[in-house]
């Protein structure tokens, strides 16, 4: 690929990324929903469940609201990333996507623009959610920040790619929501966000161990709150990070491959 072609493709990726950011900032309801819902979810479930049940997650030193904090951050990443890709369905319905697909740019640059756009929104929102961390007693050691950023980047890119793959073949937004409830919500629920791997039934533990998001959350939990990660059911943190990276790579490759198929 010549430098000129590469520059052209990078420009296409940039402009599609930029569009995602501008669209988000111009839709106030999306901003309110993106920041408000997870915080509310965290406060209500964190406070309510913590005092009502023993989820197996709490110890004398770790409250449930503190345990649930990384899970809420994962929810922010998952939902922002996935919702950002709904625009693919809308773009196809109104013809915008077709306009992009007839441009003389590589299909990979189109997929990357869209994925990076959604991922950026997810990362920024997750970082904003760091503000109340100390209130919940989450230690968030500064030396762990690079690890947190790394796993946030991987999870955000991977989950946006997952949303992209689902949205690419979808005919309607309603269908997308149905898939989300059936597939994406369990992906979050069975990641260790709400209850620990150790405390789950054995069949559930198997499913949780097969869920790649579980390992991303474990890294996130370790980066935010190292005291919580003293469990024997998970591989080491570097292995968890590696699994997350491999999953992300696979999903992005699949998203690019699908974009190269001509079905529009």
């Amino acid at each position: 690929m010549s430098t000129q072609v590469l520059q052209h493709n990078l420009m296409a990726t940039y402009t599609l990324w930029w569009r995602e950011i501008v669209r988000f900032l111009r839709q106030r309801t999306r901003i309110i929903g993106a920041f408000g819902s997870p915080v509310m979810f965290w406060l209500l479930i964190g406070s309510g469940v913590g005092h009502s049940f023993n989820s197996g997650a709490t110890t004398e030193s770790v409250s449930y609201i503190r345990y649930f904090y990384p899970g809420t951050m994962l929810m922010i990443v998952l939902f922002t990333a996935i919702f950002a890709t709904i625009s693919i369905i809308e773009d196809r319905q109104v013809g915008f996507l077709q306009g992009v697909l007839v441009a003389p740019v590589s299909r990979a640059s189109i997929a990357w623009g869209k994925i990076l756009g959604g991922a950026t929104l997810a990362i920024v929102q997750a970082l904003v959610f760091l503000i109340p961390a100390r209130l919940a007693g989450v230690p968030m050691p500064l030396e762990q920040l690079p690890l947190l950023l790394a796993v946030l980047v991987l999870l955000s890119i991977g989950l946006t790619a997952l949303g992209y793959i689902i949205a690419w073949r979808m005919e309607s937004v309603q269908g997308f929501h149905a898939i989300m409830n059936l597939f994406l919500l369990p992906l979050w629920l069975l990641s260790g966000a709400l209850f620990t791997l150790d405390g789950a039934f054995s069949w559930l533990r198997w499913i949780m161990q097969l869920n790649p998001v579980t390992y991303g959350l474990q890294v996130m939990r370790y980066a935010l709150d190292p005291d919580q990660t003293l469990t024997t059911s998970y591989p080491s943190i570097p292995v968890c990070l590696l699994i997350t990276a491999a999953g992300t790579l696979l999903l992005v490759a699949l998203a690019v491959w699908m974009t190269r198929q001509e079905k529009v």
């Binding site: 402009t15 111009r26 915008f96």
Partner: protein, 325 residues
């Protein structure tokens, strides 16, 4: 290598077959569009226009046959062809949350344009299309007509040789439609663009320099609208009757006249004005009480379609609609 035909014809389609599973949408389609002209692809819904449009815009791949655009093979040179095409889709391909300027910049970046060059092009085309004073407004605030103009400006930004438009006036009111046509004529005259548009509207097709008539995935007629109408060499007798089907049967049985019926209208062909007048006198005398109105008419493109396709235009649209349901 560019042959002489490719220079004259900006797009050449030869023996193109396209299937959606077991359904054949294009049946060995062969046609060409001349350089520097406004060419129309006319056909009812479901005739194969959209499939051909998808092929020409590179959204679908060729299955059988060949297409050359500006002398380049669509099979081998898709990337170079994309640079030569400006595409206006039937649905608005603008981001309504972005301003006109942002939409144009976005498009420019997709076509490898940036910096001063891009800004100059935006200024030029927004002025040409009359949207230069609305650059700062979000697209959702613009009228349908203005949005269409922005789309055309967007499609022309990279200075394509060919402007492909899929039913460009769809959903626009008659005044805006008229304005858009004036813009297209100016583009052709001043910018020497080859404009190819698909349409199912007769009045729109009438304004094209040349037409390709398409039916069930095959070409049934080509030429300028006037040429095609004149080539029919007929004068029409049009009758309106409440019981059109029954009257048509009587015309066949009693006067041996073959006609076509559409809703409450009967259409008869005759060879000259004189024979048409004689026919009117004869029909009025015999069936005057059943007739609401009768008169002579010059054939239209719809008549050309009926003559070439062998069936009524509306029948085809209704068949397609029913199939979709």
């Amino acid at each position: 290598m560019v042959n002489s035909r490719a220079v004259r014809d900006v797009i050449s389609v030869s023996g193109v077959v396209y299937n959606y599973g077991a359904t054949r949408a294009l049946q060995g389609l062969s046609l060409s569009f001349a350089q520097g002209k406004i060419s129309g692809l006319l056909g009812p819904n479901g005739s194969g226009k959209s499939t051909l449009f998808k092929l020409l815009t590179t959204l679908a791949s060729l299955q059988e046959g060949e297409i050359t655009i500006s002398g380049l093979s669509l099979r081998e040179e898709r990337a170079r062809i994309r640079q030569k095409l400006g595409v206006v889709f039937q649905s608005p391909a603008l981001d309504k949350k972005l301003t006109v300027l942002e939409n144009l910049r976005h498009q420019g970046h997709l076509y490898g344009l940036r910096g001063a060059d891009l800004e100059q092009r935006i200024t030029r085309w927004s002025k040409t299309l009359g949207v230069n004073e609305r650059l700062g407004e979000t697209v959702e605030k613009l009228s349908g007509g203005l949005q269409r103009r922005v789309e055309i400006a967007k499609a022309l930004l990279h200075d394509p040789e060919v402007l492909l438009m899929d039913e460009p006036t769809n959903g626009l009111d008659p005044i805006v439609r008229h304005e858009l046509w004036r813009t297209l004529k100016q583009l052709q005259a001043n910018e020497a663009k080859s404009i190819i548009l698909s349409t199912h509207l007769m009045e729109e097709a009438q304004q094209c320099d040349s037409l390709v008539l398409i039916d069930k995935g095959r070409v049934v007629g080509t030429g300028s609208p006037d040429e095609m109408v004149d080539a029919l060499g007929i004068v029409l007798v049009r009758i309106e009757a409440l019981t059109a089907n029954s009257l048509a049967e009587k015309l066949q049985q009693e006067l041996n006249l073959k006609s076509t019926v559409s809703e409450n209208r009967i259409r008869l062909e005759t060879s000259s004005l004189a024979s048409g007048q004689a026919l009117i006198a004869q029909i009025t005398e015999k069936f005057g009480t059943e007739i609401q109105s009768i008169g002579l008419a010059k054939p239209t493109l719809e008549d050309v379609y009926v003559a070439r396709a062998g069936h009524d235009w509306r029948d085809e649209e209704e068949r397609t609609t029913a199939k979709k349901k």
